[in-house]
């Protein structure tokens, strides 16, 4: 049964891999088309000349106008821009003796751009500011020079001479007429400079370089992009129009990246930006996703990591191949194409969530899972019901057999065997056969005594009739003596044989038993009087409550026989000086008669067997004794659906028999 889900998983697995394959192919086709268009666009684009020199700068796209306030920390405009810090190096050629004494100043900057402005944020390490003083123009002052080239090849020079911490102006010194304009903020705060400025992107679209002159540890120390006089470096920008272009190819779950040869991100479109609302929709099926991932996410797939960091692709070796990644809760595939534009390589990378592709196809999986679980639930329910029925049958069988065999091990009725052809049915039939056999054996044992006595009677009769004939012929006195002994022995044997068959005869006589409603107290009165006459050496006492009605339905002759046996047993043991007591009590629907005498205790270990046939705890005596008396008591009690029990009285001696008889039949 568990093969079902396994097979389902396997088929879904195969489905998944084929879906993956087809999806890769589909993506490949789509990307090939997109690549051609991109290539075309890039070729025609005015930005198509890209400098591939090493060590270029990168400016990601900022979608907002930034406030030039000299802050870049939390809640500033820079917070949401992932852009790397670039270093400006000190290229002074005279070694500084005091360099070791004072920590070297460091300068770093970062860039961002939109379609109008290039935002520049420069931060220095702690220093002492040296502002430009128009009153002393020749005195060494901190200064920022910027050299930029636009895509037409126009070189621009920019200069900022801060006169204090605060707003600064920038001067375009390259033009014939120096233009000054508000550039941003030059702050000296917490011991270091924060310079946040912006220049028009049209002047710096191709390259930019910085020359920051500081006078802190050393007069006129230059921190430059390059040591040369043309210190600009290529500027790589993420471009809005490319982003727009990529947006054309965007699909749900698809992220597109355009990288230049240095793996800078020049264009990107992220799936998440478009499909925020999809996350909510995916939520209801998170369970399915979780199951899907548990079942089908291959552990051999590498884990997905964010591919870009600070505007740059992290692992170029990912490119130029299709790779699948596992990501929670879905897999991603990464596919890339190389675009050649004017001998420059561009990488067009697509990362696609399989959520939208495979899992939308996994509606089928959902159905399959529901179907599978339904089937399993049905089968489990079926099995449970089957197991319950088996257990119920076993319990029933146990109950039947427990009810069939009474506490004495006697078989009351043979339970019906199951007709079902299964193992339990077989067991039931075997049990029934066993019970029948045991019943037969029990019956055999019960009739054994009777059969034995019957078989012995004939030879005993032969002996006795022979002896009696012998008696009638004239014998000499010596022989007569032996004859008498032989006769005595034979008589005793004869009595024994009668006793043996008595129990059996009694059971036969049950068929003819006459039920009668009699006042049990009156009957006991008569009986005790009779016992007083018969056993004159003993005393008898009868106790009962006169107010109670002791009428009971019973077979009087059998009850008398029962009491005869009890009394004959009692007088054998009871001391003559103490009475044998009858006590009659009414207990709800029963009458209890107890017969008590002061004879010695039963040995405690054989009380339960007292009422069994052939059990006698007596010493050898002259009269034959087979222990049948109490067995007959038990038979009669059972016949009346009563209960007979024996126990020792507390104290050193004394025993009591208790007979409980139901009043109504």
């Amino acid at each position: 049964m568990l093969l079902l889900p396994w097979a389902g998983c396997q088929s879904v697995s195969i489905l998944e891999s084929s879906l993956r394959q087809s999806h890769s192919q589909l993506l490949d086709v789509q990307m090939t088309a997109a690549t051609q268009q991109l290539q075309h666009t890039l070729n025609q684009s005015p930005h198509s000349i890209f400098n591939t020199n090493q060590g270029n700068y990168y400016a990601p796209l900022t979608d907002s106008k930034m406030l030039l306030d000299g802050f870049d920390g939390e809640e500033s405009d820079w917070e949401n821009i992932t852009t790397p810090w670039f270093q400006l190096n000190s290229y002074d050629y005279t070694p500084t003796l005091s360099a070791k004494a004072k920590p070297a100043t460091t300068v770093k900057f970062k860039l961002a751009a939109n379609d109008k402005l290039l935002y520049i944020f420069i931060q220095t390490s702690a220093l002492t500011p040296h502002y430009y003083n128009p009153m002393q123009p020749l005195r060494a002052a901190d200064q920022l020079n910027i050299r930029s080239i636009n895509n037409t090849g126009l070189v621009s020079h920019w200069q900022i001479n801060p006169q204090g911490s605060g707003r600064v102006e920038i001067h375009n010194t390259s033009q014939a007429m120096t233009i000054s304009r508000d550039a941003g903020t030059w702050l000296w705060r917490d011991g270091h400079y924060n310079i946040e400025i912006a220049i028009p992107i049209d002047f710096a679209s191709n390259a930019i370089g910085f020359d920051l002159i500081l006078n802190d540890s050393q007069i006129n120390q230059h921190f430059k992009s390059k040591p040369t006089t043309t210190y600009e470096r290529t500027l790589v920008r993420e471009k809005l129009d490319l982003n727009h272009q990529l947006a054309n190819y965007l699909q749900p779950g698809l992220s597109l990246y355009l990288l230049n040869s240095q793996y800078w991100l020049v264009g990107q479109q992220n799936a998440d930006q478009m499909n925020d609302s999809d996350n909510d929709q995916a939520d209801p099926s998170w369970f399915t996703n979780a199951i899907y991932n548990k079942l089908f996410t291959s552990n051999s797939l590498p884990y997905w990591r964010e591919p870009t960091s600070l505007g740059r692709w992290i692992s170029p070796q990912q490119l130029e191949q299709t790779t699948w990644y596992q990501d929670s809760p879905i897999n991603k595939q990464l596919h890339s194409k190389v675009i050649n534009v004017n001998d420059q390589q561009f990488y067009f990378v697509a990362v696609q969530d399989s959520r939208q592709s495979l899992l939308s196809a996994s509606e089928a999986l959902n159905q399959l899972l529901i179907l599978l679980f339904t089937i399993i639930a049905v089968i489990v329910t079926g099995l449970f019901a089957f197991a319950s029925s088996l257990s119920w049958r076993i319990v029933q069988m146990k109950k039947n057999y427990r009810a069939a065999i009474d506490s004495d091990g006697k078989i009351m009725a043979v339970p019906a065997a199951s007709k079902l052809p299964d193992e339990l049915g077989d067991l039931s039939r075997v049990m029934q056969q066993l019970t029948i056999n045991q019943g037969k054996y029990t019956d055999y044992l019960a009739t054994l005594a009777d059969k034995l006595s019957h078989e012995l009677k004939t030879p005993v009769a032969v002996i006795r009739t022979s002896l009696e004939n012998l008696e009638l012929s004239n014998l000499d006195p010596d022989a007569a003596k032996y004859l008498t002994r032989a006769m005595q022995g034979t008589n005793r044997l004869s009595q024994t044989l009668n006793a043996l068959s008595e129990a059996n005869k009694l059971e036969q006589s049950f068929e003819y038993a006459q039920w009668q409603v009699v006042p049990f107290d009156d009957m006991l009165e008569e009986l005790t009087e009779a016992y007083r006459q018969i056993y004159s050496s003993h005393q008898f006492q009868l106790e009962y409550n006169n107010n109670d009605d002791h009428t009971i339905n019973l077979a009087p002759e059998l009850i008398v026989q029962l009491l005869d046996k009890l009394i004959s047993n009692a007088v054998d043991y009871a001391p003559v000086d103490q009475p044998i007591r009858f006590k009659l009590i009414k207990i709800n629907t029963h009458l209890q008669l107890s017969v008590e005498n002061q004879g010695p205790h039963f040995s405690s270990n054989n009380i339960p067997q007292l009422f069994d046939s052939m059990v006698s705890s007596r010493q050898q005596s002259d009269t034959p004794h087979l222990g049948l008396g109490l067995h007959i008591v038990k038979l009669i009690s059972d016949f009346h659906r009563g209960n007979i029990s024996a126990k020792n009285l507390s104290g050193e001696k004394g025993v009591i028999f208790e007979l409980l008889l139901p009043i109504d039949k």
Binding site: N498, S501, S509, V560
Partner: protein
């Protein structure tokens, strides 16, 4: 023997027992023929009927051969006295035997003396029946009950009650002294049998039943629990 020898047929498959009984019966003057199976007995009875038949129930292979023989004999003669002498002491066998018309049912554990007494009593009854009724017969009358001791006959409301000898003597003993309780020993002595208590109870039961065939209201035999029975005249 002065009188003509009475002929008793003894059908008994156990040769030793048969011969022992034969010896005892012959000793007091009866003529005894022994048969060991039903066929032999029937062949002989076809020629001449005996004066009495003593039959065992089980005859060799035939488990109830004695009953069959009894049935056949009853067809041959209504009056032939038949006594069953058997090792079986089940009540069922006894009832079956008496129902088939046997006059008495003795188990083999009674002594030979009792057997002889029963045989003698039965012959006496036959002879009494053959005799014409006379005025000096011993008749015991107790209300509706009339007991003829000579002829061993019992009448209730002038209708004959078919009692076996044992039953006859029990009824006689009880009715002789109405109201007096007779215990089991006394009843056994009277019936010349040694039986266990249970058998006396069975006899009483059967006697009551036989009387109640004639009179459904019959209630003359009262049980004195633990002591015995007494005859009550209403």
């Amino acid at each position: 023997m002065i009188k003509q020898q009475l002929h008793i047929a003894l059908v008994e498959d156990e040769i030793n027992i048969a011969e022992n009984y034969r010896d005892a019966l012959q000793r007091i003057g009866y003529r005894v023929s022994l048969f060991h199976n039903r066929q032999d007995a029937l062949a002989a009875f076809a020629l001449a009927l005996p004066d009495m038949a003593i039959i065992d129930v089980g005859l060799q292979d035939e488990y109830e051969g004695g009953f069959d023989l009894c049935r056949t004999l009853r067809q041959l003669s209504e009056t032939l006295p038949i006594i069953f002498l058997t090792a079986r002491n089940s009540e069922l066998d006894e009832i079956s035997a008496l129902r088939l018309g046997a006059d008495d049912y003795l188990t083999k554990d009674v002594s030979i003396h009792q057997v002889l007494a029963r045989v003698a009593a039965l012959f006496r009854r036959i002879q009494a029946l053959k005799k014409p009724q006379s005025a000096d017969e011993q008749v015991l009358t107790r209300g509706s009950l009339r007991v003829n001791i000579e002829r061993i006959e019992t009448y209730w409301q002038d209708q004959p009650v078919m009692l076996t000898l044992t039953e006859f003597w029990i009824v006689h003993t009880l009715a002789k002294h109405p109201g007096q309780v007779k215990n089991r020993d006394q009843l056994m002595d009277a019936a010349h049998v040694v039986l266990d208590n249970n058998t006396i109870t069975t006899h009483i039961k059967r006697i009551r039943k036989k009387f109640s065939y004639i009179d459904a209201e019959f209630n003359a035999i009262k049980t004195a629990y633990g002591m015995g029975y007494r005859w009550v005249i209403e």
